[in-house]
């Protein structure tokens, strides 16, 4: 089998690999993993996990599509509509993914198997909930051994969550720099002194850190068993449940404090709702979604929405709301549109850049233009070109200089934006789009446009 047929992210595990074929993503099970895979199916573990919606569903395809010498079986997993990575998740997304991983260990151990990989990169969000996607991570359980993935679990899940808990900042994004997890020696150094009051920090950070410096003594006579493993898993679960990330960011009260209840939002909602009716396709990227007021509006109009914002606390609030209300078609992510995540991993191809994943039917950019143009000095021309590459349709709000929010942005800044006007905005965007509709929001100077991309750029 030529190696180029594999997906570039799928080379680490000898048990099988993922490959694109005829527009779909497949997974090959290698002969070397046949015994474990059969056990996974025959013990009923797969059915159990599938019925609980915690693992990706798949169909078995009894065809060696790539004519591979290693072939045992081909799987066609349920196709994931939008790929996200842990460094784009909010605190509660990573926490839920961690709890899911621990649940998988508990369930599989009862069936005589164990999860050998505990990286957050094995989890995706499907219909609002985390789902484990690596079908080939379940192996026969040897009761005399501790959990092979414990260290990986700590570095990939527990440490970013602990740091976020103590600092009330986004540490999930550090998984972009440390895709294998934040190293224990670094975490031990940077955790604040008050974390020493938490026994879990001693057990899972300082102890492994001290011991990591000693030589590995081998695995003989470990005196471990299933009861001990389950005690450890339950303990980790309790540690995670106590971690909390609630704080008030400048943006997380935006609607409740400044807009909600007044006429502006009602008028804006009417206009956006009307424009959404004219959007063709199914997917929307809501840039600068804040608490997702308009993402939810779009989702209720049967669009699949990816809601992004650079304020992690807002995204976390939105995620909790989605969970409570069981809204299936919104995926909230912490992405700063002026600095979206790039391609990463070996050869920069293991994980795709956000731009490639974010191709949708329409972009929604409400109350965003002034932040990009004045807050980040991004010229209209670059903005228009970028949006036109992301989607063929655009719902965009222009916030003029006279607006009090724009005035705030200019408060401590020299006004170097002579071209920041509705006229200039329209003329620049007309290079890439045609304007289908233009609506003033009564009572403010703001304008909302519905645009369509020119040609097939």
């Amino acid at each position: 089998m030529p190696d180029s047929l594999r997906h570039p992210s799928s080379f680490k595990d000898p048990s099988g690999f993922v490959f694109p074929y005829a527009g779909k993503i497949y997974r090959q099970v290698n002969k070397a993993f046949a015994e474990n895979y059969d056990l996974f199916i025959q013990t009923g573990l797969y059915d159990l996990l599938r019925n609980r919606n915690v693992i990706i569903r798949h169909e078995e395809v009894k065809e060696n599509l790539l004519k591979s010498g290693e072939w045992y079986l081909t799987l066609l997993p349920e196709q994931i509509s939008f790929w996200s990575y842990p460094y784009e998740w909010c605190f509660d997304q990573l926490k839920d993914a961690a709890l899911l991983t621990l649940d998988l260990v508990k369930i599989s151990v009862e069936k005589g198997l164990i999860v050998k990989d505990a990286t957050p990169f094995n989890i995706q969000f499907v219909k609002g909930r985390p789902v484990f996607i690596d079908t080939l991570s379940f192996v026969k359980y040897d009761e005399s051994l501790p959990w092979i993935a414990y260290r990986q679990f700590c570095e990939g899940f527990l440490y970013p969550l602990l740091l976020s808990h103590y600092y009330k900042k986004n540490f999930q994004n550090q998984l972009y720099i440390y895709p294998e997890g934040i190293p224990v020696d670094l975490v031990a150094k940077i955790l604040p002194a008050k974390s020493n009051l938490n026994p879990a920090v001693w057990l899972h950070v300082h102890l492994p850190n001290k011991m990591g410096k000693k030589r590995n003594t081998g695995n003989s006579n470990l005196n471990f068993n299933k009861k001990k493993l389950l005690t450890l898993i339950d303990h980790l679960r309790n540690v995670l449940l106590k971690l909390d990330h609630t704080y008030t960011s400048a943006w997380s009260k935006y609607y409740t404090e400044t807009i909600s209840g007044n006429e502006y939002i009602e008028k804006k909602e009417k206009i956006v709702h009307k424009m959404l009716q004219q959007v063709e396709g199914k997917t929307i990227l809501d840039i600068g979604a804040n608490l997702g007021y308009f993402s939810i509006l779009a989702a209720k109009n049967n669009y699949s929405v990816v809601a992004i914002d650079n304020d992690e606390q807002s995204i976390n609030t939105l995620y909790k709301k989605i969970k409570e209300q069981q809204l299936e078609n919104i995926l909230p992510l912490c992405v700063d549109i002026s600095n979206p995540s790039g391609g990463s991993g070996f050869a920069n191809t293991e994980r795709n850049p956000f731009n490639e994943r974010a191709k949708t039917d329409a972009v929604m950019a409400l109350a965003l233009v002034h932040h990009l143009a004045i807050g980040k000095n991004i010229p209209f021309d670059l903005m228009a070109e970028y949006f036109s590459k992301l989607a063929p349709q655009l719902i965009i709000e222009f916030v003029p200089k006279e607006d009090e929010k724009t005035k705030l942005l200019l408060l401590n800044k020299k006004d170097i934006y002579p071209n920041y006007s509705a006229e200039c905005f329209e003329n620049t965007f007309l290079k890439y789009f045609q304007i289908k509709e233009r609506e003033n929001i009564n009572g403010s100077e703001r304008i909302i446009y519905l645009m369509k991309r020119i040609g097939n750029k």
Partner: protein, 55 residues
């Protein structure tokens, strides 16, 4: 020690840590359940006392 540590897969070193953590958790559980037993013993005798007093 020395340079060999650079070549050892860090994941493999976590077995011994888990053995120690499990031992500590086990000991804590032992003391905790002992304490709970003591607590429940006294609360049980108290409960039994109350109806008798009423009579």
């Amino acid at each position: 020690m020395g340079i060999t540590i650079l070549y050892v897969d860090p994941g493999s070193g976590s077995y011994l840590v888990q053995v120690i953590i499990a031992a500590i958790l086990g000991a804590l559980f032992y003391f905790k359940s002992g304490w709970l037993w003591v607590k429940s013993f006294f609360s049980r005798t108290k409960k039994n006392d109350t109806p008798e007093k009423k009579i």
